[in-house]
Symmetry: C2
Subunit: 377 residues, 2 copies
DNA sequence: TTATTTATTTACGTAATAAAACTTAATAGC
DNA sequence: GCTATTAAGTTTTATTACGTAAATAAATAA
């Protein structure tokens, strides 16, 4: 229906995260002429991806006052499906990253059939519940923990999903959703929502450290998700061998279990545990490990910020961020600004990350190939 | 004279490092039509940046045989100036990364005035010596060790260059060279020549670990030098605090000095030292440290390869590469290919790295801005 | 020989862009 | 108030980059 060319995508990128911009501002930032911007916005206006901002800002001086354009939140919707060993979450999100409707339920059966059996009707249900125009749904993103194996398409390595051995994630999801389907590892999906709507909104380069049962993460370089040669960039868990104590949820569960405490889900570890001496020790050791990791990431990637999040209980992640300290003090020889440590804005909505995947694919300028996109409708 | 537009640059990128390609092959790889490729090559042919390959390859079957085009080594030249506390090296390089003429001399006076006093006439001398068309010289790249301080443009941090405090590297070089001037930290410059002509020739993502008096490095992501937010990406030295033993040349010199051995330049440490027990111990420890660094880089960046080089004596760098071992065996939980460990092809020609900077700036597609480049002549 | 195949070029139409000119809507100065 | 000035945005026009279709070139296959 609408062609999102390279420069149309750049307009969307610039408008995202800002309240609104005049065409002249956009033209300046994009280094194109004003007439070009008129054309770009008129095509986006026609497709209802942007709207003119009615709120006329107080004129700044002489001359015709500018009329701002902004993204139309109703312009495009995406569906996100996220699951982990504990639960599955499905949402519809709008173009501003607002969750319009969601469905959350616990998971006990981790088989592919069961999870798809939940996801497929739930996607239709949340679309209905959100009361949105079905034709404006761009696609569905799925995200879940797990690395990719050397056998392309096959996930791997999460004990609870061991029955997935024969699933080809590049094909087998498609049948369950009546729209284009995309998938991504959980941390890499979350970093997309962080990039668009969260702690990375204004950053060109940053890293996410994503703490769940395992340890994941993702790297954003020049406002692009960087996957690495084998889709393994930012998989920081690899720096902490599973055979050793590590700052992961599973490691904490194992510790609790030696203390006679058995939790079934990570969220059951509420703040009341913070006084337990064994947990206090675990927190100190894990904080130290994450501090080393942060310094490592700072030196290797020189990001503007390092963002911490995940399905570990919120109070634990907050403890990490508050006790890491300033990297400037911790690291010797910081001749330039060390990265800032930030708390993720997405720990409680990883499904928004999944919903961001289709948007990322459709609106990132560098994904534009060819003269005209087939269009999302 | 010639406009290097976006797609002309892509052609150059594709031709670089390959013997020659037919227009049809180029068109396929670039996903443009054959007529477009005719236009692109005709403009490059006119500017003499490429030539048709006379060697007609054996025809593969029916149909008109293709005529390959390849980069014209005489098409463009660049000048590189590299210096470190030991010496200064100046070269003219052609479009194939071949050094056409060079000038090397030892440095004792490290003042800005002295170094420029050497470099400026030497640049003219090597151009003359190479016997090339002066109008085809694209520019001059300078590279040298040193981080950038928070004060933009001011280098910092190398003891021997402490007198440079008031030099603004963004301006003060210009007066000494009658051509466009670019500069870059030594490791980052070397990685460019590695990318074009060396160990990274065929790699999309890789890291360089650059061992000199200090410890530097650089990161290539998607065939682009990634500098990080504060130009500090890949400055791996930061992972080894100066107050602790570290795998750097200065650290080795300090050790030798405690053994009563005083070397004036790194290259004086020849292979005869390899039997010295203290040096053997240093090598073992440094190898262990570099192994940890390699695993860290592998996990963080997921590069295709990690390249080792630098002005440390060649036999030491070879010792590191040979004794690191396979990362696959060393790191637990490698579910995908670990990066390959490679030896730099540029340890003995860091000035080629400097000479690559102007070329990188002029021919990297993503540096193209606007409709037409002002041109390099 | 002639048909077929493949690479490349030529001719031409379309889309994206910038420059110049124009329109619109505000303020500044009288 | 009236007019000049300024700035935003649009229309018009010329240029450029690209793709499609057709033409040409140079080989093999029949």
């Amino acid at each position: 229906m609408i062609n999102l060319g390279y420069n149309e995508r750049r307009v969307i990128e610039l408008l995202r995260g800002r309240g609104g911009m005049s065409r002249i501002e956009l033209a300046r930032e994009m280094a194109v002429s004003a007439p070009t911007l008129t054309r770009l916005t008129s095509s986006l206006l026609e497709g209802a991806l942007i709207v003119e901002d009615s709120e006329s800002r107080p004129p700044t001086g002489r001359g015709k006052p500018s009329t701002a354009v902004k993204l139309n939140p109703e312009g495009l919707f995406t569906v996100g499906v996220y699951f982990n060993p504990d639960d599955i979450r499905i949402c519809v999100a709008d173009l501003e990253g607002k969750i319009r409707a969601e469905h959350v339920q616990e998971l006990d059966d981790h088989s592919f059939d069961h999870i798809m059996g939940v996801a497929s009707p739930a996607v239709e249900a949340v679309i209905k519940q959100a009361g949105i125009d079905r034709s404006r749904v761009l696609g569905c993103g799925l995200s879940f923990p797990g690395h990719f194996s050397r056998n392309p398409g096959h996930v791997f390595q999460i004990q609870q999903f061991s029955s997935w051995h024969d699933i080809d994630v590049n094909k087998d999801f498609d049948d369950y959703f009546d729209m284009p389907v995309f998938h991504e590892n959980d941390g890499k999906a979350v970093v997309l929502s962080e990039l668009y709507y969260g702690a990375g909104r204004n950053l060109r380069n940053f890293a996410l450290i994503w703490l769940t049962y395992g340890i994941g993460g993702a790297v954003v370089v020049q406002r692009q998700l960087y996957r690495g040669t084998n889709r393994n960039a930012g998989e920081f868990g690899g720096l902490f061998p599973k055979s050793h104590p590590r700052p992961s949820g599973q490691d904490l569960c194992n510790l609790l279990s030696t203390q006679g405490i058995n939790v079934r889900r990570l969220r059951e570890i509420d703040e009341s545990y913070s006084d337990h001496p064994a947990i206090r020790g675990w927190l100190d050791r894990a904080t130290d490990q994450l501090r080393v990791l942060s310094l490592t990431v700072a030196r290797t990637l020189d990001p503007t910020a390092i963002v911490f999040g995940g399905s570990l209980p919120d109070w634990i992640i907050r403890h990490f961020v508050e006790h890491l300290g300033s990297l400037e003090i911790l690291g010797e020889d910081f001749h330039v600004e060390p990265p800032e440590i930030r708390l993720s804005a997405m720990s409680d909505k990883p499904h928004l990350g999944a919903a961001t995947i289709p948007l990322y694919r459709a609106t990132t300028p560098s994904y534009y190939s060819g003269r005209a996109l087939k269009g999302w409708a």
